[in-house]
Amino acid sequence: MADVATAAAVASTATDLASIQASQMGMKAIGAGLAVGLTGVGTGVAEMGIGAAAVGAIAEDKDFFGLGLLFTVIPETIVIFGLVVGLLLLFS
């Protein structure tokens, strides 16, 4: 009798463990998604102003293109950090 009960308990613990691991993996995936998505929004908001100003400046002076492009991509760092966090969450 006792053996059967233990076996059932072991089996149920194993399924529990599997489901817990699966849900942890899911949480990680959600976290990674949030990291990339939210930082992406942040970058977008930051680049919005810079990009508009840069286009204005380029319209006045074409030589500003290089520098304008450079300024515009500076907030890209934020989304890169998000991407790094996401990758670390998923793969390490």
Binding site: L70, I74, E76, T77, F81, L83, V84, S92
Partner: protein, 649 residues
Amino acid sequence: MSRLLIAASRDQLSTVIAELYRHNLFHIEEYVDQGAGDYEGFKIGSPLSGASEASTDLIKIRAIENAISVKADDIESKAAGSRSELKAMIERELPVLEREVEELTTKKSKLETRTKELEQKITEIKPFSEIPFNLDLLRGYSKFSVFAGYVAREVTFSVPSEVHFVKGKEKNFIIVVTTTDQRSAVEKTLQEASFQVVQVPEESGPAKARIDDYTQAIAAAAKEIGEINLKLDGVKQKHAGFLVACEEFLRAEVEKTEAPLRFATTRQTFVAEGWVPSDGVDAISNDLVKATNGKIYVMVIPTDLEHDSVPVEYNNPSFAKPVQLLMDVYSRPKYTEVDPTLMLAIVFPLFFGLILGDVGYGLILLVLVFVLGKFLKGEDGQQFLKVLRNASISSIIFGLLFSEFLGFELPWPAIIFSRHLNIGGEAGAHAAAIPQLMVLSIWIGILHITLGRVLGMYNHAKQDHGNHRTKAVMANFGWLTVMWGIIIAIWAYAAIPLMPDFRSLPAIAGINIGYIIGVVLIVVGVVFIARDAVLEVIELPTIISHVLSYTRLVAVGLSSVAIAMVVNFMSIGMFIAPGLANLSIVGIVMILVGIVIFLLGHTLNVALGILGGGLHSIRLHYVEFFTKFYKGGGKKYVPFGMKRRFTED
């Protein structure tokens, strides 16, 4: 650079100018009338004879070039002829050519205006196209009033009137004729149906016929414009080479004849000051003396690095030359500064390759570079393509190391760390070594920034003076020690792959020696920084963010790998493979869809790869590397003379 002073009598002016122009080495320091204390009694010179003729001709040539859209950059360089030949050709052919092009362009613009007028007329008549009677019947009455226009719905009038109603899709066209005394009643009814007036055009005959006539006239004009364009094209084919050669020749003439405007002159003499690369001084002075039979005085003036703004010309090995373009986008180095072009030329392709390490994409880029090379003839374009070429070669090499071809694995496992992600469940045995790649990129960042700071110390030691110099050098050293202090403290705290593990170091009073060294370094660094500028201390967090910023080398690269693998999985795994397994009509359609996805996806990824790989690599230099040591703002060295492409000297 050496500062050269040339003085001679005025009758030698043209000889000296011609000689300087031929050498293409002398950067003229322009003479300004005011505030030149040593130049009392001097005046700005006046142009040599022939200046105005040359500039008039130049304007004519540029106008012609504009009219037939000839650009020097689009034309292969080859010498068209000697000076005297060109001069004769300009005198003989330019007026004829000018007249020909002018006639054609005037005719063309007349025809274009005519077309616009006709189109306007057609839009005026168009509302009446459904009216079966002649247009001249609609105007010229004294006892009748005619209304024409659009109404929202069909209307009936209580007063005697003749109505012609045309039902349309969006709005209905109506013509109402009534006696003049009933005018106001009709107007009121029409207003209620939201009437919009349309002017009766000044035309006769049925509207449809008029429209046909005008359409034919427009077609005829278009045909004539086409013929004129063909003729202009013919002129372009025949004379493009001549035109660009003339432009170059005349530009040289204008520059030469107007050069005295930049010299200081008296009634009998002139003085020119300028910069010459130090190894060119002997050649240029000897030739000047020879050309003027010794009637000239040439002297090297000692340079004062603090006050003179010395023009800067790059001095790099040929493989690094294309990258000067990227340097100029940021700023040209100052004369006293370290020129980072060489470092940029080596590191930029490496970064690009690390990001876009894929044999397939590298090859596509290389082909793209060669195809574009056929079209882009200008200097800057060529240099840019060379930068891209080096980057794509590096991309191919890194692709071999990463074992990647359009996201697929090459027949061997990745030689350095693998970037193959688990997409569509086919990661296989060589899963991506992401933590190792991240640490590798952080190492690159640490070394790159360390190099930047060391250069910063060198630059400050070279440029600054006295107390400030020591402080500035020490501050740069302080930034370095803070960074390394943080790193050593982290090593003592946690084990990181590919980095030393200091956790097992001996402890003093229970505290790991790594911590102690780290904290000491940080404190010393902060003190050094604060001694130079206290406010700089708030910038301390940038140490971490700048180092971490280098992880983009891996992150952007991985995202490009991920896109490539997703495209492959979608096109092959989801469409082509099932299609091949079941070769019916549906199967063939699926294969075609798969191929389209494959092509579109990889095209997008190539575009993103160029943009990502290029922009992020250059940004790491501009923002993370250059800010440590580089100021720029040097004056460009523009020697008096030109690189001739179409003419001989």
